[in-house]
Symmetry: D2
Amino acid sequence: MIIKENVKAQLQERNKNQGRLLVSCPDKPGIVSVLSTFLHNQGANIIESSQYTSNPENGIFFIRIEFRCENLIERAQEIEEAFEAIASVHEMDYRFAYGNQVKRSAIYVSKETHCLVELLWEWQTGDLNTDIVVVISNHEEARYMVESLGIPFYYIPANKDIREQVEAEQIELMKKYDVDLLILARYMQILTPNFVSHFENRIINIHHSFLPAFIGAGPYERAYDRGVKLIGATSHYVTNDLDEGPIIEQDVERVDHRDRVADLKKIGSLIERRVLTKAVKWHLEDRIIVKKNKTIVFH
Amino acid sequence: MIIKENVKAQLQERNKNQGRLLVSCPDKPGIVSVLSTFLHNQGANIIESSQYTSNPENGIFFIRIEFRCENLIERAQEIEEAFEAIASVHEMDYRFAYGNQVKRSAIYVSKETHCLVELLWEWQTGDLNTDIVVVISNHEEARYMVESLGIPFYYIPANKDIREQVEAEQIELMKKYDVDLLILARYMQILTPNFVSHFENRIINIHHSFLPAFIGAGPYERAYDRGVKLIGATSHYVTNDLDEGPIIEQDVERVDHRDRVADLKKIGSLIERRVLTKAVKWHLEDRIIVKKNKTIVFH
Amino acid sequence: MIIKENVKAQLQERNKNQGRLLVSCPDKPGIVSVLSTFLHNQGANIIESSQYTSNPENGIFFIRIEFRCENLIERAQEIEEAFEAIASVHEMDYRFAYGNQVKRSAIYVSKETHCLVELLWEWQTGDLNTDIVVVISNHEEARYMVESLGIPFYYIPANKDIREQVEAEQIELMKKYDVDLLILARYMQILTPNFVSHFENRIINIHHSFLPAFIGAGPYERAYDRGVKLIGATSHYVTNDLDEGPIIEQDVERVDHRDRVADLKKIGSLIERRVLTKAVKWHLEDRIIVKKNKTIVFH
Amino acid sequence: MIIKENVKAQLQERNKNQGRLLVSCPDKPGIVSVLSTFLHNQGANIIESSQYTSNPENGIFFIRIEFRCENLIERAQEIEEAFEAIASVHEMDYRFAYGNQVKRSAIYVSKETHCLVELLWEWQTGDLNTDIVVVISNHEEARYMVESLGIPFYYIPANKDIREQVEAEQIELMKKYDVDLLILARYMQILTPNFVSHFENRIINIHHSFLPAFIGAGPYERAYDRGVKLIGATSHYVTNDLDEGPIIEQDVERVDHRDRVADLKKIGSLIERRVLTKAVKWHLEDRIIVKKNKTIVFH
């Protein structure tokens, strides 16, 4: 357990006075002024701020503000209560996030472990701002590497005939471990609407194609058959429409006629691991706002 | 006419003793030996050679050989006749190409001229190994820039109601100008199977998406709606299946949530022009073999 | 003259109520609040805002704000006068820019015209937010294409022996045409400190290497000799240290052992034109702040 | 030891009838014919072949041929003896390589283990065609992960004062383990000419910059100070000129003004691991010929 607890403690200490405020509301003049004046009056200093307006005329205003504030842990409740009035006046959707509240992640994995390996490595080096509280798999391959880091590992066999029962068990585990984010690191099982409804915009999947090309199964085989010159991977939030959720990140690599399906899979695995890792990082840093079926990612 | 004739004369002189041989045949031991010995006996020196075998067991063997040979123009017929016997024994599909026989290209364009501008520019600087013999458009926008370079320009209004008549006229023009290659530089009109059948593997199109994503009309609008993080362009040979022909080249650029449809179009236009230009170059250098619905591109 | 005046008129009309404010000052809590409240009180609506702080402790605060304001042309002076007091209190360096004041650019070019061609093309399509008021060259190659667009062209032979006299003439022309930005589109002449001092952070050069590799002459030849696997181009502001000015943008392309110097130059020319064009666009949109010898580019 | 021996056995079995022939010689007509006829007569089937000629006139001819041959292990000596006569006539430099002779690698590492982790991962999945016979480090950080895979680990403290003694010890180990390839996976110690002379073109280093920019120590710090917009990594063979050896592979990633030195190091570490891994793979597949101070890499 030493590694796991050390990572968590270091992340908490490093970020303890750091907060984030994400807001969306109908655009109108003066919103930036209202928000920045509020934070200033609360003793918070804005260290990073990004905004976006969906349309110059009658659009939606979105902003992500990162701030520092002395004794933020103690001050948080007071700040949020004070903000309530402003949010109400300006019809704001908003959320605060605090550096000491390290998000709790569950990783779902199947036989192929390259994405899991990458996530664990980034996490061990302190570059993934999360506490990995549990790993769930329908195979045993990953057990040793997970448990040796002090992370609980659950082997839950899964197939479409026992889907509901499997998902019930998984939902229980998510509750038990109080999970904030579910990462499907090549989990390869389709989730039911019921399962998805428990975790809206909190399940990140990696699809092994450049969506919307090759939705569904066997994307590398179909990319090979089509003779594409680039292959890709897509990280997205999971919705009830298979591979149709809001896209967070995509990337591609060049291939050519000499690459067989196995080569595409190998090259693809390197794309998948970096695309998923980026998407997970941005989620953990509260850089993403979902708007209809698209994402706004504040880099 | 000065520019056009100068470009052609320079290309002919530069490449006059240069030849290419493209071969595909059932793979078996000794094919490279047969081909290289033949060329050596004909006094030709291999200066570049690339091969590919579709499968180690009972696959198809493909090779592109670039060679130099003194007095190649005079020798060509003799070489081809001698090769006939070898080709027959080994069941070879093959073609010879000669540097002095500069391929004759027709460019089809609509209102948007960025791809045409790029092709004309590459051609003027001697980097596009072709004689552009005619430009055809269903709009007048491009007339001035085309004619000022000494290239005939034909304005042929087109829409789906008059498609057959328009294509008949175009086919006549292709015959009149003895066209080897048709380049659809954002022509935006669907071609009938009859038209396509006249020019098998000799029509190159640029589609403004990363195929097979966003087949058909309005790809940038649909890319915007889907919220993709990369947009692309695809150059392919035209077949009777819309946007389903053999892919020659693809590329992408990064976009984000701030990019509106107009931004995607602008960024996309830069991708389109370079992807189409590469595909056309490779075709003109006989670097492409079409195999079923895929391309082998020997770089 | 029709093209040139049309472009300018369209740019002015499109951006007439659009303003930008760039500020840098010692960081302290409340700066964003001060600025956004000021603009709100002036009736301006912030449509885009990016900030950066060089260091969380005692750093420098930088911000670029894009805003819209009714009747901005008439209001500008009043707004600037009101801002003076705020700027003074917070020790701000700042500048306002207005959409109707289209920046006046001069392009310097030598024999190779690919960067010039690209800039003229982007400008004609309305994608380069400037009035190209003059082109200066030490060769005649570009005269026809420049003058046919209604842009004055000056042929001024140049070499190191007559440098001072040439620069005196150029400085006069810059004054005559009231030039805001000098774009060295492969001009290939070294400028004296005297010349540079007239246009601090207003001369943008394209260097044909990935700086700081291959500073000085013959970068493609030296890249070839070194056997690099990527070649690049760098756009930067010109200072008195050759090729050492603040970098605005860089990009690269892959090459391999088969590419000779001429191939590197050809591939490089495609990099140069896009890197220079991006840098020029960002300057024209006031996206760049120079800080010591580095640039902050707000995308 | 199970993992290590399994990897080796699988590689040997997979490649047992596979051979490679690399040749360089003065170019003249008929060389391809000679080589391909020879292999055909030996019962070998060419499955991949790439050639390159340094200059059309009086250049050097280079070729890499991959072939399959029944009972290659038993036939190897006979084939090589027969080839001797041909090589002599045509003044060929050449080498044969055999799939069953898995190359033996030593990895040198310091405190930072990201490149080592990547190499070990690729090796475990069977994607690195080598037997990793020993890991040497001047720190203890990597011991556990190395030994748990059954690979011997040697801790040899090193600094410039004891360089000769350290290198003598290392050379002994290289002999003991019969090492073919030395991989400096961020080893961070300068090697003496004596050490290098023992392993000509057999030491691969990863330098954490886009060479020739930022030769020597502290490249990320210097990249930060210079304000570059891309950072890179370079894999090269080690010679006696620091960071001046033949470049095998390079790559870059985009950075911006917000990235501090620590960010550059993090982004750079991802570039380093993939660039080093590619270079090592190509070496192990005999895809590289060193010619003066440059590499020919047959992809």
